[in-house]
C-alpha cells in the first residue's frame, strides 16, 4: 500500500477536525450571538406581526425578498461552478469543489428561510406544500411562488446529494483515523465505504450523473426566482431579460462568495499549500468575465427601457438612475463593474488580496442589485397617487445581518467536522503536495490505477 506516502497530505487536511484552535470558539461564539439576535428579532416579528419590519403600502416586498434572491444567487457558486469544472475536467478544480458545494447548500438553506420569514402568517407556510388534504385543496400551480417551492426543493435535494457523494470516501478516511464517537459518526456517514473498484466506479458514475443533472436545475431555479418578479405586470419587473439576467447575477455573486470563503479558509486553516494563488487567479478571471456579462445585461435592460420611453417604466428608471435610489444604484455599478474591472484586468493586481477586494465589492453590489430590483418598482407602480417609499427597521436589519452570520457559523462548523478540501479528489489528481514534491507514486486512489483489493484510507 502506498497509503504511507500519501499520509502527509491526508494528515494535513484532517488536522482541523482533530485540533481545535481558540479562534474556532471565538468565531462560533461571535457568529452564534448575531444569529441568536436575528432569531430573537424574528421571534418578536412572529409575536407582534410583520408590521415590525419596514414593509408598508405599497412596498409589500422589501428586504426579506432581497435577501431571498441574494442568497439563492450566492448558492449558484457552488454547484454550478463545481459541476462545470468537473464536466470540462479542469484539474485545478480539485481543491476548490467542496468549498464551493458547501456554499450552495448553506446559502440555499438560508435563502429558503426567507419566503417563510416574510409571510404574514408563517405558521401556515405548509399550505404552500402540495400535500394531500382531506379537503382536496392543492396549492395554486399557476402561482410563481408554487413554482419556487418545487424549484428550490429540487435544487436543495440535488445540491445536498452533489455535496454528499464525494464526501463519502473522505468520511471513510476520517473514520479510519478516529476512535470513539467520531468513529461511529463518520462510520455511519461513510455508508460502509470500503474503496472497492465497484464502489469507486459507482461513485464516479453518480458524480457524473449529478454534475450533468444539476446544471439545468441550477439554471432553472434562478430563472424561476426571477419569474416571481417578471410574471407580475409591475414597471421594470415585467421583462423577458430577467431569467438570464438573474442567473448571470447569481453565478457572479456566487463566484465572489466563493473567493471570499476560500481566502478565509486559506488563512484560518493554513491551507496555503492547497488553495494556491493560481486558484484565485482563475476564479478572478471568471469573476471578471461574469462582471462583463452582468454589465451587458444591465446595459440591455436599461437601454431598452430608456429608448422605449414608456411612462410607467421611466418613473422607475429615473428613480434609480438619478432619483432617491441613485446613490445605491451607482454604488452597485462601482462594486459590480468598476471595481472588478479596475482590479482584475491587470495581472499585477489579480492577486489573492485583489480578488478578495473585488469580491467584496461584488457581494455588496449584488445585494444592492437585488434590492434595486425589488423595491423601486413597487414604490413606483402605475398610479402616481399610490407611489410610496421604503426604509428598513431594526428587526429587518438584524435578520439580514443574522443571515451573513449564519453563513459564517455554518461554514465554520462544517470546516470543523468535514475535511473542507476533498482529500481523495486531490490524491486522484496529479496534485503534488509540497512536502513530498518530487515523489511520484502510483496512486491507489485513481480509478485507472486502483487494483481491486485496494481500499484507500481504509487499509487499517
Amino acid at each position: 500500500m502506498n497509503r504511507t506516502l500519501n499520509k502527509p497530505l491526508a494528515d494535513d487536511l484532517v488536522r482541523p477536525l482533530f485540533n481545535t484552535s481558540v479562534w474556532f470558539y471565538a468565531v462560533v461564539l461571535a457568529a452564534g450571538t448575531v444569529v441568536a439576535c436575528g432569531a430573537l428579532a424574528w421571534g418578536f416579528q412572529l409575536w407582534y406581526g410583520i408590521g415590525l419590519s419596514g414593509k408598508r403600502w405599497p412596498t409589500f416586498w422589501a428586504l426579506y425578498l432581497t435577501n431571498f434572491v441574494f442568497w439563492i444567487g450566492i448558492s449558484h457558486a457552488g454547484t454550478l461552478i463545481s459541476a462545470i469544472l468537473r464536466l470540462v475536467n479542469a484539474t485545478w478544480r480539485r481543491p476548490v469543489t467542496r468549498c464551493a458545494e458547501v456554499i450552495t447548500v448553506f446559502a440555499l438553506m438560508i435563502g429558503a428561510m426567507f419566503p417563510i420569514i416574510h409571510l404574514g402568517r408563517p405558521w401556515l407556510a405548509f399550505w404552500l406544500f402540495p400535500y394531500p388534504s382531506a379537503r382536496e385543496i392543492w396549492p395554486n400551480f399557476r402561482s410563481p411562488l408554487a413554482w419556487d417551492f418545487f424549484a428550490i426543493n429540487t435544487y436543495l435535494t440535488g445540491s445536498v446529494l452533489f455535496l454528499f457523494l464525494p464526501m463519502i470516501p473522505d468520511f471513510a478516511l476520517v473514520r479510519d483515523r478516529s476512535t470513539g464517537w467520531r468513529r461511529k459518526v463518520y462510520g455511519t456517514l461513510s455508508f460502509g465505504w470500503r474503496g472497492t473498484t465497484k464502489q469507486w466506479n459507482r461513485l464516479e458514475m453518480a458524480m457524473q450523473i449529478m454534475a450533468i443533472a444539476i446544471l439545468p436545475v441550477a439554471v432553472s431555479v434562478h430563472t424561476i426566482v426571477s419569474f416571481d418578479f417578471s410574471m407580475a405586470n409591475v414597471p421594470m419587473w415585467h421583462s423577458t431579460i430577467f431569467g438570464p439576467y438573474f442567473v448571470a447575477g447569481a453565478i457572479f455573486s456566487g463566484i465572489a462568495g466563493l473567493i471570499i470563503a476560500m481566502a478565509a479558509l486559506r488563512k484560518a486553516l493554513h491551507l496555503e499549500h492547497y488553495l494556491l494563488p493560481m486558484h484565485f487567479e482563475n476564479l478572478g478571471k471568471l469573476l471578471l468575465l461574469m462582471s462583463i456579462l452582468w454589465a451587458y445585461f444591465v446595459f440591455n435592460e436599461r437601454l431598452t427601457v430608456w429608448y422605449g420611453n414608456e411612462p410607467h417604466e421611466m418613473a422607475v428608471f429615473w428613480a434609480t438612475q438619478r432619483g432617491q435610489y441613485a446613490p445605491l444604484y451607482w454604488t452597485m455599478v462601482v462594486g459590480n463593474f468598476v471595481l472588478p474591472m479596475a482590479i482584475l484586468t491587470n495581472s499585477k493586481t489579480r492577486t489573492i488580496l485583489g480578488c478578495v477586494i473585488a469580491s467584496c465589492g461584488v457581494v455588496v453590489g449584488m445585494w444592492l442589485e437585488r434590492f434595486l430590483i425589488v423595491v423601486p418598482s413597487l414604490t413606483h407602480k402605475q398610479l402616481p397617487y399610490s407611489w410610496g417609499t421604503f426604509s428598513p427597521t431594526p428587526v429587518e436589519l438584524f435578520i439580514t445581518a443574522a443571515t451573513f452570520a449564519a453563513m459564517l457559523l455554518l461554514y465554520t462548523l462544517f470546516a470543523k467536522f468535514v475535511p473542507i478540501i476533498s482529500i481523495w479528489e486531490l490524491k486522484a489528481g496529479d496534485f503534488v503536495h509540497a512536502p513530498q514534491a518530487g515523489v511520484v507514486t502510483a496512486d491507489p486512489h485513481r480509478i485507472d490505477a486502483a487494483p481491486a483489493s485496494s481500499s484507500p484510507g481504509a487499509a487499517s
Binding site: 407582534y48 408590521g51 405599497p58 412596498t59 404574514g120 410574471m231 402605475q382 398610479l383
Partner: protein, 235 residues
C-alpha cells in the same frame, strides 16, 4: 343567468367629500391605525379618493377619482396567489378568503391599482368603537390581505332574499355602502349581465373609461367623465 356585479363612477359628479370612504370603513370593519402607523404607510382604505391637480396656480383644478378594487375579469392578483385565497367567484367578484390567506402579499404587488391592504398588526378599536363592528363582516387578523368586496355581505343577503321570493334582484335595490353614502349619487352599482340595468347602460356610455384599461386586466368599474383621462394630466 348568473350575476356579474359592476360599478360606474361618475367623476363629473364626484365632489371628493369622502363619504364613501367613511361608509366603507364603517360597513366593513376596516381598522383605523395610529398616527405613527399611518406615517409608516399602514393605513387601510378599501376605497380612497385620489386627488390630481390640473393647471398652474392660480388656475388650479382638482380632479377626484375614487379608487377601489376594480374586480377585474382578468385579475392579476388571482393567478399569483399560491393558496387560492384570491379567487374569482361565480358572480365575477374578486373574492378574498381571509382564512386561506398566508400573507405572501404577492397579490398586492401584482395589483396595478394598489387597492389591496395588509394587516400588519392585529386590528384594534379604541373603546367603545369595538361595539360598533358590523356583525355581518368578519374581522381580519394579523398577516392577512384584505380589500374591497363590493360589500359581498349585502350581495349575499339580497340574493338570499330574492331566492326566497323566487325573483331576481331588482336593479338599484342592492347598493354597497359607498354607493349608498354618496350624496351626489356618483356611484352606481348593479348587474352588468342585465342589459337594462343602470350600470350596464352607463358602462356603454361614450363618457366611460376604464382605469389603466390598456394593461388588459378588464376591470369592471367604469369611470364616467366628459374628457378622457390623459397621462399628461397627472402630476
Amino acid at each position: 343567468m348568473p350575476y356579474r356585479w359592476g360599478m360606474a363612477v361618475d367623476l363629473d359628479k364626484c365632489t371628493g367629500c369622502e363619504a364613501c370612504v367613511t361608509a366603507c370603513h364603517a360597513e366593513n370593519n376596516i381598522p383605523t391605525v395610529s398616527p405613527q402607523q399611518s406615517a409608516r404607510g399602514r393605513t387601510m382604505h378599501w376605497m380612497r379618493v385620489e386627488r390630481y391637480y390640473e393647471g398652474n396656480f392660480p388656475d388650479v383644478r382638482v380632479k377626484f377619482r375614487p379608487v377601489l378594487c376594480q374586480h377585474c375579469d382578468n385579475a392579476p392578483c388571482e393567478a399569483v396567489c399560491p393558496t387560492y385565497a384570491a379567487h374569482h367567484n361565480e358572480d365575477g367578484l374578486n373574492a378574498q378568503v381571509y382564512n386561506r390567506c398566508i400573507g405572501t402579499r404577492y397579490c398586492a404587488n401584482a395589483c396595478t391599482y394598489n387597492v389591496r391592504f395588509f394587516n400588519f398588526f392585529n386590528p384594534e378599536w379604541p373603546k367603545p368603537l369595538h361595539l360598533q363592528l358590523n356583525p355581518d363582516v368578519s374581522v381580519r387578523e394579523v398577516g392577512v390581505m384584505e380589500k374591497c368586496t363590493f360589500c359581498v355581505q349585502r350581495i349575499k343577503a339580497a340574493k338570499t332574499a330574492a331566492k326566497a321570493e323566487k325573483r331576481a334582484i331588482v336593479d338599484g335595490a342592492l347598493q354597497p355602502a359607498c354607493a349608498q353614502a354618496c350624496p351626489t349619487t356618483a356611484i352606481v352599482f348593479g348587474d352588468l349581465n342585465d342589459p337594462n340595468s343602470r350600470v350596464a347602460r352607463l358602462a356603454q356610455s361614450s363618457r366611460g373609461t376604464k382605469l389603466l384599461e390598456d394593461l388588459g386586466a378588464e376591470p369592471k368599474i367604469t369611470y364616467l367623465q366628459k374628457q378622457p383621462w390623459h397621462e399628461s394630466d397627472t402630476q
